[in-house]
Every structure is written in C-alpha cells, then in structure tokens.
Symmetry: C2
Amino acid sequence: MPDDGFIDELRSTLDQGSVLCGAEIDARYHHDMAGIPVPKPRAVVRPRTTEQVSALLQLCHRHGVPVTTQGGMTGLVRAALPNAGEIVLSMERMNAIEEVDVSGGVAIAQAGTPLQKLQERVEQDGMMFPLDLGARGSCSIGGNLATNAGGNRVIKYGMMRDQVLGVEAVLASGEIIGGMNKMIKNNSGYDLRHLLIGSEGTLAVITRVVLRLRPKPTATATAWCGLPDFAAVTTLLTRAQASLAPGVSAFEVMWAGYHDTVIANLKNLRAPLAEAHPFYVLLESVGTDPVRHGEAFEEFLGGMLDAGIVTDAAIASNEAHARDFWAIRDAPGEYDRFIPNYAAYDVSFSIAQVGDAAAQCEARLRARWPDAIVMTYGHLGDGNIHIVVDLPGRGKQDHDDIDAVIYDVTREFEGSISAEHGIGMKKRDYLHLARRETDIAAMRAIKASLDPHGLLNPGKVF
Amino acid sequence: MPDDGFIDELRSTLDQGSVLCGAEIDARYHHDMAGIPVPKPRAVVRPRTTEQVSALLQLCHRHGVPVTTQGGMTGLVRAALPNAGEIVLSMERMNAIEEVDVSGGVAIAQAGTPLQKLQERVEQDGMMFPLDLGARGSCSIGGNLATNAGGNRVIKYGMMRDQVLGVEAVLASGEIIGGMNKMIKNNSGYDLRHLLIGSEGTLAVITRVVLRLRPKPTATATAWCGLPDFAAVTTLLTRAQASLAPGVSAFEVMWAGYHDTVIANLKNLRAPLAEAHPFYVLLESVGTDPVRHGEAFEEFLGGMLDAGIVTDAAIASNEAHARDFWAIRDAPGEYDRFIPNYAAYDVSFSIAQVGDAAAQCEARLRARWPDAIVMTYGHLGDGNIHIVVDLPGRGKQDHDDIDAVIYDVTREFEGSISAEHGIGMKKRDYLHLARRETDIAAMRAIKASLDPHGLLNPGKVF
C-alpha cells in the first residue's frame, strides 16, 4: 500500500472538490443494485475532463494503485464495486451532452451522462436514441458501453455496441486513445472501440463517445397473443419479421408459469385474454405512417389467427391499453413483494433452441424441487430469456444448487451465462462455461498488454 | 531462413495435396486486384479443416516462419500478398456451407466460401445474406471479415461486422479460439470476434463463422433524382430515412462531374433526366408489400418535388429500368476504357461534412491541375465517397502528389483514409493520418500479445 502522501498528491493534481475521503464518501460509491455492499473505498475521485482522468491514471500507474470506474451503479453483476484499498473513479461529473447533430445523425456525450437525459435531449430534435432499459434514469452511457447493455429494443436497433461510432478512452498508463469518430465506415486498423465495449472497465476508462441517432418512429402497434406451443411462438417471430419487417420493435415471450404467477400475485394486473394459453407474446411494431402501419398490423395478425399459429389475440386500442400489456411484462420489478428470496438468471441460446433449453431447465428444477416456482420470459427475438426461481419456505440456501442446474443446461445447449448483464464478480467463476480456455488466455494476454500492472477494475470478468 | 526440411515436415504433417511448391504455385497466389504482383511464395498450403490450419501454424511458430492468409484475392490495398520467403495459407479448400438454419436465422460457413455461393444458397430458403459487393463471385467470407467489407447495402444492413455472430479462429501459436456462437446477445468477456474483424489477417486466421441471415425483401422501388445543391442531398437523405424508414436500401450520390463524364464516355449509358443538375441521387427502398410500398415511395417523392428538395425525378417502372439507373452508378468498372491512369480514393467523413470535404478536394486539385478530371460519387448514407482523379496526358507520375492533396483534406476534416478497403501495404504509411499515435501503439501491443513473433501477415496495417 502506498503511503498517505498519495491522497495529497491526488488533491494537488486535481482540484480539491474532485477527491472525497472518509466521511465525505457516500454509501452510493460502495453499493450497487446487485445487493450486499463492500467496505468504503480509500478515496473517490470525480474528474470533470478527460485530461483529469488521464492525470489520475498516470498517478495511479506511478504508485501502483488500483482503480474501479463507476457509472450509475445499476449493474447486476457486482462489476463496479471496489476491492479493499482501491480508488473509485466516479464519472458522475462528466455528464455533459456536448453536441446533437441532426443532419449527421449523431450526438457527442460524456461517459457519465445518464441514459434518460440523452434520450430526452435528442427527442427535442425529433431524433431517437434507441437503447432503453428500466434503469434509464440512473444508468450512464459509459456504464452502458462497459457492459454492452441490451434492454427493450434490441430486436430492432441492436445493443449498445451498435449505437456507437466513436469512443475516447484513457489507458491505465494515462494515455488517451480513440476519439470522436463520426464516420459510419472507417476501416483503418484494429477496432479498439469494440474491444473496449463490454470489457467492464478492465481495459480502459471510457470518457466521451459519439452516438448514432435514429429518426423517431411516428406509429406504434401493440398486440397481446395467446399461442398453443413453442413452435408456434418461433413461427410467429419469423413471420412477423418477414411481414412487418423491419418494424418489429419488441417480441416478448412469456411462458404460462410466468403469466399465471404474476397475474395471481399482483392485484393491479389483468389477463388480457379470456382463456388460458401455454404461451403468450407481447408483439410491438413501429412504423412511420399510422394508418398504413395499423392496417398492415391487423392484417398480419388476422392471417396468424386463420393459420392457427396464434390462438387468440388482443390489439391495443390506445396507448393506455398498450401500457396495460407492458405492465404484465414489467412485473419483475415487483418480485420482492411476493418472492423476496428468488434467484434470477439472464441466459441466451440460439433462437431455435430457446424452447428446448427452457423446458430442460424447468424439468430439472421440478425433479429436484417439485414445488419450485419457475417463471420464464424474455426477448425471444434476441434469444435472451430470464428464468426466475423461488423455492417456497427455503430462503436463499439452495441458490448455488439452482445455479448449477441452470448453468449445466446452458452449457449443454452451448448458450451464454450472460446475455446482457455481463460477468463482473458475480459470474466470474462461471466464465469457463461460456468461453474456451484459449479465449480466456487470449483475454488475459490482451489485458496484460494494455494494463500491465493490472490496475483497472481488478478481479472483474476473470 | 529455416532449411528445406521445413517443407518436408509440412508435407508429412498435412496431406500431400495441401502443399504446393515451385512450379505448382499458380500466379493467383501472388497477384491481387490492386496491381503489380510480388515474387512467388516459398510454398502455398491449402488446409481442409481448422485442425490442419492449427497444425500448420504450430509448425510455423516452432520454426519462426511467417504466413500470409489468402481469401479470394480481390482486395484493393495489397493486404494478402506475401513477402519474400513467406508461406501462403490459402483458404480456398475450406469452402463448405455447413448449415443453414432458417428458424434460427443463421448459417455456418467455412472462411473460404465465396460470398455469392453463400448468397445463392440461403436464397433457396427464402432468406438473404445482405452483404454485397462487385467482387461477390470471387471474394471469400473470410476475406470479407478480415477487411470488414462494406458494399452496396450498408445503409440498411450494416457492414460485414454486423452480419456475424460467431467466429472460430486460430492464433499464431496454433491455438483455436472462439466458436460457433449463434446467440445475438452474449456478454461474457471481451469480444474477440470484433477485434479480429478488420484486422486484415494480422491477429489470427479465421476458419469458420456463424452468419446472421435476414428475411428476403419482396418489394423494391428505385428512383433517379436531380437536386439543386448538396444541402438538398442531405435533406433528402434525412427525410427518406424518416419517411421510408427503415426501408432505404441505397442512397448513392453522384456529383455532376461524375455523371457528365461517364455519360459522355460510355456509349451504353443514357441520362435519365432531360435537364442537367448539380447533383444526382439513386434512391432505392425495400419493403414487404409491393402495392403499399410503391404508393408510399411515390407519395414521398411527390412531397420532395413539391418542397423543391428534388428538382426532377424518374421512378423506375420495372426492373430493367432500375438496372439502367444502376448502370450509371456501376460505371467505375469501365474506367480503364477512357481514363486508364486514374488514381482512386475511398474516404469517409461525417455525413454532415461530406459536401464541404468533397468541394475542398476538387478545388485544391483544380488549383494545381486546372484540367484535372475529378469524379466524386458514393454511399452518402454511410458518409463514404470515392474520388477518382485523372490528369490528362500526364500518366501516373503525379499520383503521390494527388494522394497528398486528398489525404490533407481527409485529415483536416477528421475523415478516414479508408472507409471500406482497409490499410494493407498500400496505405500503411498513411495510417498515422487516421489514427492517434497512442492508438497505433495500443494496436502494436495487442498484436505482440497474440502473435509475439510477428508471424501472421507481417508488414500489413502498421
């Protein structure tokens, strides 16, 4: 451990207000949405510019002090919690939107900008920034990049990776790399941008980014469908993408176990269809012409009903009606009210295998815990499902065993143990289930080449 | 140089037909589309499996022998030509399409598969692989990945990078990394796939890939537009993307200098509009319903004419008519017939700056060479333009000076010197114009971490 003079040097290098110690350190710097907090970090540094980030990292490099970078602290895998004795680098004061360029279709934002702030700013100019998550009010653009965030609109617009043209970042040495590339095409050497995206703060500190904007859609149609089996669900997806293409903006599937449990436990929810069905799909499509788009949507669903692919369906008659459908899909925010000890998984498979993989998970869980509550739902268009398991009366004591069941199936189906949340500390011990040993060795080699002393976010990912 | 026993060891490790030497080596292994050939390589090795690639690279690693990997040899920057004494690794016998999975929307192909073979195979199942280039008959999927190829449909479907879910590759050590990931979402550690894409064979040899397929569009509308100024061109782009969105599948802009020169010199071409205009745009939109889509396209263009954004327009009445429009845009294939000594550039800028950057290039070229033929055209939706310059009566003697003019403007406008062709050997000395010194140092560090002896495609990129 370096002596206390390090903090003094920090304070003299940056401005006084940038460095917080001891009682000045709020709980939010050592607590995230994944639960149990860690001890207070040695100091919290809140730079205002890329040059200050560079100055901080140069100092840390010289003294061998490790650094954990923080965005909005809404992650679910403990990737932004500091280890003992570390410095926290909070990006919260680098939160300016520097430019919105409508004709170029781009915005420049600092990494600490909250997602919702950016969404609202570009909407003023008739544009849309399509990435969207429940944590939008708190999560930061830099955190979205570090984790390659997914969310509600991936089926149409892609993940965070697909929204980014340029990235400026600071290496562990303090050197600044990348820049404000606004070009859609730029094939000149290795794409360091894509290497940093999803690396969870272990390779560099992202400071400023160029984001791609889209025209805001002016028409939306939403339907709630009941289906007879999983084959019908995948057929509906394929047909919707071919016929409504490329307007499908959400395709959220819910197994009956999910639907029935949340409807039974949350009094504000009502089942949209009179009869029970084995599967439900929330289908949303966006377009530019409300009349033509609405007609095409109704016509498409009529065809699916005639073909028996959809057994019953309700089309939202207005925005409030559509919000009622979405409330059922958004019920996971209310789990604490009826299954406070639940275990949750974020897995993905090839779309063709989602049905079999989910059935295997449920069968193996029930074989071992016959009274288990198993709720399966997710973004079928992305192959990403969430599985939530609760063992009534048994608290959290069996969570490691549930992990083993779910991750065994994930491995057997060559799926991913983390579709959109990342690895962090929480899934680090399971990384070998998702990646070859040679991949992990290559990652370590790249890490060592860019951060030879291992100072950036140590102990995360691998 | 290792002794001749190396070739014997190669022959005994792989099968006999895999190793070509001396007179067995055809000209195609040391000649590409960028021009001047290089001397014959020491040997050409044509493996049939990933394991054979691995065995070859293990042997080369042990003996310190450098290797250049080759696809279809259609590149334009001399990135796949071997240096003296090198082994050529040709992927031409790894050309199988292993799987086409319609419900999963993916195909698995070996890296040596020609692009057109893949396109035609998936069309049999009603799907589309959207990447498309003039070299489709010869270029390989692996080469498309190594260069992150662009082409005709980037505005709607993205570049090669955006079509790929999984990559299997072999490191210089012979270790196999990556795999047949079919998942759209997979946030588990560093994305090595994106690091390899666009690295021009310098980090690993890509052997097999999982490609994303799209539903085939069933309606296409095409128009040829005359516009009064470049501001109108960018407005048309923005409005088309908002109104026809997301159906705009091509937005090709041509400056009058391009249009007038090719029409005057190529007898098979006819000007689609009666009057002359400062700018022309070839606009193409795809959809699923021919009637609705055609109506919306006509209505949109009518509005643009009423608003004075478009001065005149012709809508293709059938496929043959649309092909006449495309023939004007495809005229670069005929340059050799009237300007055999031309210099060609592949640059990109932020869309908002394309007009000013192109005007600067032309003004500076004319200030120095008043009689220069300057033809500017390209994919405005991607910010990517091609500039072709011919100096009548002066051969190729001034090409270095033309380079300097174009690349000066590119640097001043923070553009890219290579939008879609890559760096290779041809633009290596200009890489510093496109990337910071710190970026190049980071690339070298990554290269050294994965290929410590510098055996994979040495002398390319940097």
